[in-house]
Amino acid sequence: MREKILELLEKNARMSAADIAACIGSDEKSVEAEIARLEDEHIICGYHAVIDWNRTNEEKADAFIEVKVSPQRGVGFDQIAERIWQYPEVSGIQLISGAFDFAVLIEGKSMREVAMFVSEKLSPIEGVLSTSTSFVLKNYKENGVVIERPKKDERLELS
């Protein structure tokens, strides 16, 4: 039941407990209780809408920043990661394999704001050796959803 609930919520976080129950052949109360447990256990960590901000009047500038650091004795990468994730501009950070150590996703209001963040906040952090910033030019697909164009039903109405 857990996995089935998670699969459905991952696709549509707004699905009601009653609808989930109908789909998996359970009852509303049990589904609600299970979701509460999943939240308590921090397996469900949040619920978010996938938004195409480009279709709104809101100005946005997103950037991926690859960060190379020198890990510190005893605490490894985690402490540096924490110093980075504390900034509200950072919407995501992962430890990665390859030439760099962290992939950091920044959501800013403008390119200038992102540039300022990198030069004034990120780079000076102790242990950060170098950064490489890539601005997002166009968002095609996010969280499994194609942003670029809405899906249209092209089938005959009846067949």
């Binding site: 549509n12 109405e157 009846l158």
Partner: protein
């Protein structure tokens, strides 16, 4: 001027689905939503489409052998063995056709002499009866019942057999009811067929959309049945490939030889691009089918629950992507119900009678739609029945 037309063809009615489609098309109302389609809402898996595109870039733009690409028939042979314990020689017992529909037409034309009877359990897909008649055969209908879960009962089959009966037609999992025949349901049917020395044409196009938790059983896998059965299937439902127009049939070599002759003269070969894509579907498409099946199953349970909560009787459909609710208690015919639902709530569904007279009192509801669409549509049905006396 002389009459251009064949009067027998003229006498064949056009499909009940088509008739309703015309009503919807005429309304031309963007508010209308539909639960009327008989094809998956999923796109063909990308790796399959990619393989079709790749075949084009390599210049694979020629006819294939009449029976289909050898590699595709080899894969089909493996697929039928692995999935349903069926053994067919890819050399002369498998043919690749333009959809399952062509395969059905080939069977009847290859097997029927004028006046031979074909038993067709109804409700059934709209094409079977006309295809039998076009091949010179006589369709004999068995009315299936809701209380039997729309399964074919041995006693009903026995009662329909005459000395003219040649073929028993089966379509499970079924369009439009979603009914499934399990091993224990098919066994007595197979015994009767052998006893009366009949043949079976089994349309198993929905075989991979089975929600029983057990695997699909083909009547051809029973002892003594292989030599008297033609299995028809295709890629449309299993791999969401309706527009590619690709199906197949598997039959004993003797029958296949004659089917191939008709196909050779009328069609030549199935589309080559589609055949290359289909090889990849068979090799690498298992996960895609499983994903779609899980999704359909969620929707199926959702619909059954909604109908039951509305107080509409709906038998537990365990296959395909249709449910077939019983709306007879509202005192409207299927046709009236569907027409008023369309007019008053702007929801298009297919009346059960499109699939035979015994579909009266029912609607075919397709769940080849997202849950979001299903929810919206079911809300409309709920609003509609609330207004009925």
């Amino acid at each position: 001027m002389r009459r251009a037309l064949n009067s027998f063809i003229e006498s064949i009615p056009s499909s009940g689905i088509r008739k309703f489609f015309d009503i919807v098309a005429e309304m031309n109302d963007p508010e209308v939503i539909s639960l009327g389609v008989g094809e998956p809402d999923f796109d063909t898996p990308w790796h399959v489409r990619e393989e079709g595109i790749y075949s084009l870039t390599r210049g694979k733009t020629f006819y294939s052998p009449n029976a289909g690409l050898k590699e595709l028939r080899d894969e089909l042979s493996l697929f039928l063995k692995k999935k349903y314990e069926l053994s067919y020689d890819p050399k002369d017992e498998i043919i690749v056709t333009v959809g399952g529909s062509e395969a059905i037409d080939l069977c009847f034309r290859a097997m029927l002499d004028p006046g031979d009877e074909v038993i067709i359990p109804e409700p059934a897909f709209v094409s079977y009866k006309p295809c039998v008649r076009l091949a010179g055969g006589v369709p004999v209908v068995i009315d299936l019942k809701n209380e039997d879960d729309f399964k074919l009962r041995p006693e009903d089959l026995e009662a329909a057999i005459t000395d003219k009966t040649k073929i028993v037609f089966l379509n499970y999992p079924n369009n439009p009811t979603g009914a499934v025949m399990e091993r224990e349901d098919l066994e007595p049917i197979a015994e009767i067929i052998k006893k009366h020395d009949l043949f079976v044409v089994s349309d198993e196009i929905y075989s991979e959309l089975n929600y029983t938790g057990r695997r699909h059983v083909s009547i051809a896998s029973f002892p003594g049945m292989r030599e008297r059965t033609v299995v028809v299937s295709g890629f449309s439902k299993t791999f969401a490939m309706t527009g590619w127009r690709l199906g197949y049939a598997a039959a004993p070599a003797e029958i296949m030889k004659q089917m191939l002759k008709i196909h050779q003269y009328a069609i030549m070969c199935a589309p080559t691009t589609a055949q290359y894509a289909a090889i990849d579907a068979l090799k690498n498409g298992d996960g895609d089918t499983a994903m779609m099946r899980d999704e359909y199953n969620n929707r199926r349970r959702y619909l059954l629950k909604r109908f039951r909560d509305m107080g509409i009787d709906c038998f537990e459909a365990l296959g395909a992507f249709y449910v077939f609710p019983d709306i007879s208690r509202f005192g409207l015919s299927s046709d009236e119900f569907a027409k008023r639902l369309l007019k008053e709530q702007k929801l298009a569904v297919v009346p059960g009678t499109a699939f035979g007279d015994c579909g009266e009192g029912h609607l075919r509801i397709s769940y080849a739609y997202s849950l979001r669409d299903l929810k919206r549509a079911l809300d409309r049905i709920e609003a509609f029945v609330k207004c009925l006396p």
